[in-house]
């Protein structure tokens, strides 16, 4: 069961990573990147590393996302060709 859950999380992780690279809408990419961090946080937690999970949740999903959003609000939302 836990193996199945792990597999599901890893598949989600990979699809999030691919989606971030492929997306042209940077705002959407930022949000997907923050969900990538949340999945990564769950994986750290399942591997018995609560310290790293806390950092990942706070830095990866929280602060980095906000800084990206701020950068987008000061530049443009869509990637140029």
């Amino acid at each position: 069961m836990s193996k199945l859950f792990d597999l599901l999380l890893l598949l989600l992780l990979i699809s999030c990573a691919l989606a971030v690279v492929r997306m042209k809408d940077l705002l959407a990419a930022t949000i997907v990147f923050s969900s990538y961090s949340l999945i990564m946080c769950l994986l750290w937690l399942l591997r018995g590393a609560p310290d790293v999970a806390m950092t990942e949740a706070a830095v990866g999903a929280g602060v980095t996302t906000i800084l990206f959003l701020l950068a987008i609000s000061r530049t443009t939302r869509y990637e140029r060709k």
């Binding site: 310290d51 806390m54 602060v63 906000i66």
Partner: protein, 236 residues
């Protein structure tokens, strides 16, 4: 053509990586290199020798204290670099920016209710870093996130009171400063830079040194995050 070349290249790189993965020890195996060298020593002696019940804190603040000092210095330097770039680049772009939309009532209410509780959680994580998972880095980031959330719902004037102006420069450098202070304390008392007392009678001093480091890292980290956010978001 180029695309096919890239795919072939990636496959060629991937094959040895996947083959190497088969040689890795299984997850949690006691024979893996992580458990056969110093790791097992830390697990056996860490709690009584290094003074923190949380082994992770033992390693990052005591056994690997120098690395962590370097790390907090890197964070401080990174902030200085970001500020240097933003303060030069942020000159002429003020007019181009559209007016920010005011935050909704829901966001304002939730931030106002959650901010004190979250800040208390951050303080708990920092102060309890030597007992439970967490510590200065984690708690500091959570506290920095609270500042960011408050910046979103408060007016520019109120935000400037969140972090007092004069000590701001000192607070940004809190982590390296506290690290140097604790290191010099170790140097004067125990003849080793960043040395900790090893006897049982001095256990209280040891814990105090660890907690001081955690608080320094937490305050420094929170201020660095808040400063970067404010500089990026401000109009000057």
């Amino acid at each position: 053509m180029k695309r096919a070349a890239v795919i072939v290249f990636l496959v060629v790189v991937a094959i040895p990586l996947v083959l190497a993965m088969a040689d890795l020890p299984p997850y949690g195996s006691p024979d893996s290199p992580a458990y056969t060298h110093v790791g097992s020593y830390y697990l056996e002696h860490g709690v009584e020798e290094a003074g923190a019940e949380n082994i992770v804190t033992d390693v990052i603040l005591n056994y690997r204290g120098f690395d962590t000092e370097g790390e907090v210095t890197v964070i401080f330097t990174a902030m200085a670099a970001v500020l240097a770039v933003l303060m030069v680049a942020g000159g002429g772009t003020a007019e181009a920016r559209p007016l920010p939309t005011p935050p909704s009532v829901v966001v304002r209410f939730i931030v106002r209710v959650m901010a004190p509780l979250t800040l208390m959680f951050a303080a708990y994580v920092i102060m309890n870093g030597h007992i439970t998972p967490g510590g200065g880095f984690q708690g500091g980031t959570v506290a920095g996130a609270v500042f960011i959330a408050l910046t979103l719902v408060m007016t520019e004037h109120d935000v400037s009171h969140l972090i007092p102006h004069r000590p701001e420069r000192v607070l940004q450098a809190a982590a390296p400063i506290v690290y140097c202070a604790v290191g010099l304390l170790g140097l004067t008392l125990f003849d080793v830079y960043l040395g900790y007392p090893r006897t049982e009678e001095m256990a209280l001093l040891r814990t105090a040194m660890l907690v001081a480091l955690e608080i320094g890292i937490g305050v420094g980290g929170a201020t660095v995050i808040a400063t970067i956010f404010r500089t990026m978001g401000s109009d000057q």
